[in-house]
Amino acid sequence: MRLPWLVPPQPFLGLLLRRATVLWIFSRMFIAFYAVVVLGGGLSVLPETACLGLTTSVALTVLLAGLTVLDVHRRHEVILLANLGGSRRGVFLLVALPLLGLEALTCLLPP
């Protein structure tokens, strides 16, 4: 079925996922740095920053997916993607679902 919010084809699919993953890694590093250094928790709090809880994880995912969509705008790629049948909503969902998966994965990691 062809949906109006169809996700973009390769290589854009991989490109968007790579950008979102890089954003996620940096934001996770920032959270860890903030907890350990800025809040002065020391290395002992590091395992606690892995699993942020459902609300924070969802909020982080929405924020990062939104930033990825904004990045598509900033790079003037939105019209090309639309010409290929991909919409902003499609990009958002495409990015948000794997990020949620990564968030779930970090909660499953052993401390």
Binding site: R2, P4, W5, L6, P8, P9, Q10, P11, F12, L15, R75, H76, E77, I79, L80, L81, A82, N83, L84, G85, G86, S87, G90
Partner: protein, 237 residues
Amino acid sequence: MPPPTVNARLAIEGVWKQFGGRAVLRNASVWAYPGAVTVLFGRNGEGKSTLLRCGLGLLRSDNGVTMLGDHRFFRPSLSALALQGLFFLPDRDLFSPELTLGRQLGALRRRFPEARPELLAEVLRDPALLERRSHELSGGERRRAEIGFARARAPAVFLADEPLRGLAPLDGQAVADHLRALAGDGCAILVTGHEAQALLDIADHVVWMTGGTTHHLGTRDEALAHDQFCFNYLRNP
């Protein structure tokens, strides 16, 4: 000229748009016909690009409808229109700066199996350019690549916002020839621009936008016989 909606493949009709209380579009309409080039002229700030963007859903209009073939869109989106055979060329920067033209062409072929990728290489004249990124091309090469990408898509409807802007006369002529060739393939074309001579040479239908609304002037010869258009836009006596 036939009545506007008859035989039109694309119709953007009755578009109203205000920005901060200032009406930019007032019941503006434009049509594109299979195998024909429609040129939308108008002074800077009259709302040509706004009309296209409202019709494609890139801007939300206050009122208006877009019809593409048998499909009617009250809240159009470019992605939905693209899946129905429309291709839009913005006034600048179509390509992603991160990928080579060849890889972006690959995406086009994956999404639209009916695409004809060989046409991009033909328009570019140098297949080696497919290995470059868009910022590694000159302005003329980039515009040719964008037109070639559109030709490779083999769209049913092609909209271009100022496709000749910033091009040297010879490059502009080449782009105009490709637009004509695209129309020759049966595509319905709608373009905007200020390069009056080059665009009038390829125009089958001329539309003049002034005061936020559109005036359908008919053929090139009919437009050139329109006193107000000649005086107020072309500045010919």
